[in-house]
Subunit: 463 residues, 2 copies
């Protein structure tokens, strides 16, 4: 059946791409309420696609926020393993004025890439999964495993309602393994498998000074809130890049030397990273390599900042307030709630007395980890070898998929991050997905389900 499926995928490749374009065209931005209707349209697109592939149960299920799309095909039978496939249909905000070369929700193909918001994160990768499963179900013998799709609409706003949804529907979601294609690789010739993700705490820091903006002729008599915000931001880090909030590193796991060595085998060079980012030099804790800073160290970053007048021309005001968006990436065994409290308490301590400050918690997600020796990770390694033509290197990811830790903890499942992403511009302008990665990704997923079926059979026989 696998060969039938691979052949089907090859034959329908053009349609698969056209379908991905369709989904990108829907601006399903979860964080902006004016796009709620687009969120609904994206969910309906997924429902139609799952029904077309032959899924038996397909539902748009409510949450406290944007709905979950759930699809179930149990045709492989009770003895076959069941795979829970997680993905998300929401995207980050995107607008031409952010620096896009063309309209972010009008996808097009140029030099081997599909351009558009969501092309890689996550529409391209979830469509690759949907199409791999469609190809398997279209083959005469159908699929060797059962499928449950769980596609949410709040990943880009830290999956605020998904943990509760998973708790409420734990029986429905029961499976043998969870697979998530929402991670990337450096380039199309270098498959990489992520076995660890960082957590995230997203916060808003507000600084308040005078009750209204003042004429700047009254300057140097009260503390300027923009300046006070700058003072707070500077104190968040030590000069060497360490985060200054007391206790921040208390729960950070020390890596064993073997894993640290493994991690650095495929080390990102400074030259490559400077070329990739365009920054004049690197920054951060000198005793950790770039790969380590991104994978095994926590961070605290300013994601945005605003105060007073910033339009065209000049306005001589002293702003009444200033705001910064701050977020931390967390590593095992840090807990989001505790980190938020540490940062909040520290900010209270360092707020200059001439202003008031407030740190709001917007969202959070915990860090996650799957042992690289687990059979399902080994199945993924074998699948990449066949589908991608090369063994993947293993790495710890710098990003956060909040649901990974929740699925591990609530459902007790191993989670395989079957990353199929090759591209750029994730969360930034000109997001794009490599077409060859999309194609190889579909094949790799087909091989992966075959590997999972065999490994299950092997385990079952051995028991």
């Amino acid at each position: 059946m696998m060969n039938d499926a691979l052949q089907y995928a090859q034959q329908h490749q053009a349609r698969f791409q056209a379908q991905l374009h369709e989904l990108i065209r829907i601006p399903s931005i979860s964080t902006l309420s004016q796009h709620n209707e687009d969120m609904r349209r994206a969910a309906e697109w997924l429902v139609a696609d799952l029904l077309h592939s032959g899924f038996e149960r397909v539902e748009v299920m409510p949450t406290g926020g944007h709905p979950v799309v759930y699809g179930e095909w149990l045709g492989a039978g009770m003895d076959a393993p069941t795979v829970l496939i997680y993905g998300h249909y929401d995207v980050q905000p995107a607008a031409l004025e952010d620096g896009w070369s063309s309209a972010p929700f009008e996808p097009f193909i140029k030099e081997d890439y599909i351009y558009g918001r969501g092309a890689v994160d996550n529409k391209g990768q979830i469509v690759a999964q949907l199409k791999a499963v469609e190809a398997l179900l279209a083959s005469p013998n159908k699929a060797p495993v059962n499928f449950k799709f769980l596609i949410e609409g709040e990943e880009e706003i830290s999956s605020v309602h998904l943990a509760q949804f998973v708790r409420d529907h734990a029986a429905m979601l029961q499976a043998d393994v969870c697979v998530i294609s929402d991670t990337g690789m450096r380039d199309v010739e270098t498959p990489q498998l992520c076995y660890s993700l960082r957590g995230l705490v997203y916060m808003e820091l507000h600084v308040y000074g005078p009750s209204d903006d003042l004429h700047s002729g009254t300057g140097h008599t009260i503390h300027n809130p923009a300046q006070a915000l700058a003072e707070i931001i500077v104190k968040l880090h030590e000069p060497d890049g360490r985060i200054a909030a007391p206790g921040f590193y208390d729960d950070v796991q020390t890596l064993d030397p073997a894993e640290r060595a493994l991690l650095n085998e495929d080390a990102l060079t400074e030259a490559y990273w400077l070329e990739q980012t365009g920054a004049p030099m690197t920054w951060g804790e000198p005793e950790f390599t770039l790969v380590e800073r991104m994978g095994i160290r926590p961070t605290l970053e300013v994601n945005g900042m605003v105060s007073g007048f910033y339009g065209e021309g000049s306005k001589t005001v002293i702003p009444a307030k200033a705001m910064a968006k701050l977020s931390c990436r967390l590593v095992a065994n840090q807990k989001a709630e505790r980190v938020y409290q540490q940062v909040r308490d520290y900010i209270i301590q360092i707020t200059p007395p001439g202003v008031r400050s407030e740190l709001k918690l917007l969202s959070s997600g915990e860090a996650a980890y799957t042992d690289p020796q687990h059979p399902s990770i080994q199945a993924a390694i074998a699948a990449y070898e066949k589908g991608w033509g090369k063994k993947p290197t293993l790495y710890r990811g710098g990003g956060t998929i909040p649901i990974v830790a929740d699925i591990q903890q609530i459902l007790g499942l191993p989670v395989v991050l079957l990353g199929l992403g090759v591209g750029d511009g994730v969360h930034g302008p000109d997001e794009r997905y490599h077409l060859e990665a999309f194609r190889r990704g579909i094949d790799t997923a087909i091989y992966f389900y075959d590997e999972i079926a065999h490994s299950h059979q092997h385990t079952a026989n051995g028991a």
Copy 2:
């Protein structure tokens, strides 16, 4: 003729207010190009008003930017003194979302105040001048002095083209004294006369890091431009509030103890200032009083700041760039160009190596000073006593009217700052002008022109 004029002003007070409403209703925001048509409408309103009062020569005269409105009445004859009255018809930007309680360009009267952008700065005060002159010209004997009105449209963008205009039309603008009503007083019972103004340097600081916004999962590997901007801003001041740029205070004049004592006679109390601003505590150089910090000390303030994502919700980016609007108030004998260079050189020095920075000069204006003993200042003191019912206290102003220094230098005229402003919200939300100040202001201006005529006669007789 003075009594006729005072009576006329009293009889037409309701119409004068209605006319001020008309002018406020035109959103003549010089810094925003979409308001160019409104700028033209405001200029035409002034032309119509001057013609209606009997001015003989009225013109809208081009500059490199927004035009100047010029009006001339020389009916007092060659032996009478000529007064050049300067004002501006442009206003600062204003929008409901800046915190206004109602639409900023829909003026209304509530509890003795006219509300609206420009009510005090400068539409209310220039209309008071226009109406004082109208009242004099409407009286049987006309006015005892000749009038030249010079009303510009770029004061809120640092009078970028006015100095050149004054140089180009120096003969046309020749006069015996220049009067400007664009300063304020604490409350309607406390007339205050400003004899010194500060200069202004308005700048934009840009900080550039990576070429595009990055996913924040790559944090702590390059220097975050928002954080780097914060680091630069913090280093602009010493902890005690002094500006840290080397040489910044080199040209600052030391005040003689007598003037310093005089200045502090009417000292602003800390309690009053905190109540007025709503700030939790005062800030600034401890060895100078609040009045001194606002009048005789230079400042460096952040007027605004923007970077990355600052909308609703969360977006996990590392911004590619960050920007701050910075401005300095200058005192005699600082020079704007030199201060800009000092700040620019210092910023080059303190810019962290992981980012690039650029400091752009947007506009500038020099500080100005008129000797309080000058006869025209003494005439103003007498006019306040009659028109306002109380002798004014003298002070050094914290604001900047760039043209004052230019008029002094180019035309060689004494400048009297006949401030008629009582209100709040100048450059901020809910700008308002006290109606009684508008009324008394018109009377005070009428008395002032009478005093000027007498003082001129006295000087002429004495010569």
